[in-house]
Symmetry: C2
Subunit: 347 residues, 2 copies
């Protein structure tokens, strides 16, 4: 074992202690303090720097995935501070899945040593280069097969996936990039800061009418994050031959037993020869290298600026997660639990 950093006096790990009904509350979680773990042969100690909280985690809170009274899992990036695994060296920056804690023991087979980070902020590995970015990239390329010049619409557009979809679509040569989101301020942010051509607040008036107003010629590629009435509005706006990539339904995570009404206009899929395709990003991990080849040059050259909401400290992780479910974030919601170091934050 080698070490060049004094371990923190204690570590914090977040447990789920109750199964929520509907929207989770802080009482469903506990912060457990314990001594910093010591690596055994084949593991390394990682001080986490950033944790990812994501809407899909609400599903993991149901019976059958996350265990109660045990450390929660989630994507994280951190720095190796002690190692008994020859594949991980002290000082390595790594991506792994032992999030929701300040310190993690990870094996070399559980961690990816991140490439030299010049020009790429460390937290990008949890946002545009992470699962969020991969979801956007795969949805636009493999599922919807976006072609240059096409009109793209994404709902929940100010969220982590949605904001990546809009910016990736622009960089891929989409003709018009359109979105909906949960407030007028976020709609303005999309247009002013993220290069959307138009956006609207889905609370303000009729969804279908709002969409028709910003997409008078219809939508070629829809990126569906919500479901229910918003999906119905999108189906109605699709052009002949359009494709909808459907990656999640935030509205449904809190009540999987009572799904939102399905679109009454579903038969439009036939009339307009539209493809509605659900996908799971875990089926497309092999696209990661392609995502990086696409996004890293854009990051380095400033055409792609991460649009993250970063909360401070392990104590903020539950609030950050509940905030994601309420749509409190713009861009990817990330929790900073350690010092990224200057080098890693340079853009």
């Amino acid at each position: 074992m080698t070490t060049n950093a004094a371990p923190a006096p204690y570590a914090t790990t977040v447990h789920q202690v109750a199964r929520p009904t509907g929207m989770p509350t802080p009482a469903d979680f506990a912060f457990v303090e314990h001594p910093v773990p010591v690596p055994e042969a084949g593991t390394a100690l990682v001080e986490n720097v950033y944790l990812s909280v994501d809407p899909y985690m609400r599903e993991a809170m149901e019976e059958g995935e996350w265990e109660l009274n045990a450390p929660l899992e989630g994507r994280a990036v951190g720095r190796v501070v002690a190692s008994r695994d020859p594949r991980l060296a002290v000082g390595d920056l790594v991506f792994h899945r032992h999030g929701w804690r300040t310190h993690a023991l990870v094996g070399g087979d559980e961690a990816r040593v991140l490439p030299e980070p010049a020009g790429v902020p460390l937290r990008a590995w949890l946002s545009v280069l992470g699962g969020t970015g991969l979801t956007a990239y795969v949805g636009l390329t493999r599922i919807a097969r976006l072609k240059p010049g096409e009109t793209v619409f994404v709902n929940a557009a100010a969220g982590g996936v949605g904001s990546a979809v809009g910016r990736f679509a622009r960089l891929m040569g989409a003709g018009r990039v359109l979105g909906s989101t949960g407030s007028a301020a976020k709609a303005e942010h999309l247009v002013r800061d993220l290069g959307f051509d138009a956006a609207f607040d889905h609370h303000d008036g009729d969804f279908a009418a709002n969409l028709a107003a910003i997409a008078p010629d219809g939508v070629d590629v829809g990126f569906e994050n919500v479901g229910g009435a918003q999906l119905e509005g999108l189906v109605g706006a699709m052009r002949e031959g359009g494709r909808i990539a459907w990656c999640g339904a935030v509205a449904q995570y809190n009540d999987p037993g009572d799904p939102p009404a399905a679109p009454r206009n579903l038969y439009d899929l036939v009339h307009k020869a539209v493809r509605l395709e659900g996908f799971l990003v875990r089926h497309h991990r092999d696209a990661q290298a392609e995502l990086e080849a696409f996004a890293v040059p854009h990051l380095r050259e400033g055409r792609l600026v991460p649009d993250d909401t970063v909360t401070e400290g392990i104590g903020s992780v539950v609030d950050a997660f509940l905030g994601v479910l309420r749509g409190a974030n713009t861009g990817k919601m990330i929790v900073r639990v350690g010092d990224p170091g200057e080098q890693c934050e340079a853009v």
Copy 2:
């Protein structure tokens, strides 16, 4: 003008004379008798032999497509009996779209001269080699991308498209071929005569339970002809990574203003990464040569036997059409209005 056949003394043409509400009735049509038309320069006179009646025609009866009090359109095959178009020779067997009549004037650009028919019955150009067969072929190949060994399910399986889907899927190497239909007799016909592995009557018990019983490991490829509750049952039975080719909704043609309920389990498309893709066969005319390369050898060598319901005489065309809407046929519904000749019926 050349001619080697005496024209019939009169011709019959079918007009739509009223727009139906719901199910059409015979009173919505009129049989108009008139002299056999005489070809002008650039057209040929075709004596129709077979006419196609298809479910999609119900949609054409709504405002905006078929004109009232004018000859109806539909696929037909017939024989050139007089010609003033150098592209069409007397004796040619042709496919064209001037159906619903005994005699048609067609230009060379409106007709396809059919290839030498040895081993291929003439009416096959309206069934497995026609729009019906093309729908089945495109749905299985381009839309659902069937792979050998996969389990296929088709509803309305005893109809023209459905029975082609089942037999094509078998010839393409599907693992299991399953179907639902509208009577116990038709379900038996599918298994006994058409090579389905299992089938059920959708009137007999719960659709989802029946489907689960014959597809305990789920469905890889669904071919959806109905919509509504049947689509919901199919979505529930789909395996991860499955594909549904959706080509029509017979249930809806009679009442386009009040679509059937959409599947309540639509979000399963995301959980199971399933593709639901509507398609219109008119976007895929370029697959016709591929269809023929696939199906003609199977027809000639007896592995694919047309499963047509043939009614006799132009006077039967309205009843045949209404029968299709009621599901009275097994296989493709075809109306014989002329003599095919012995050569054309040899299989």
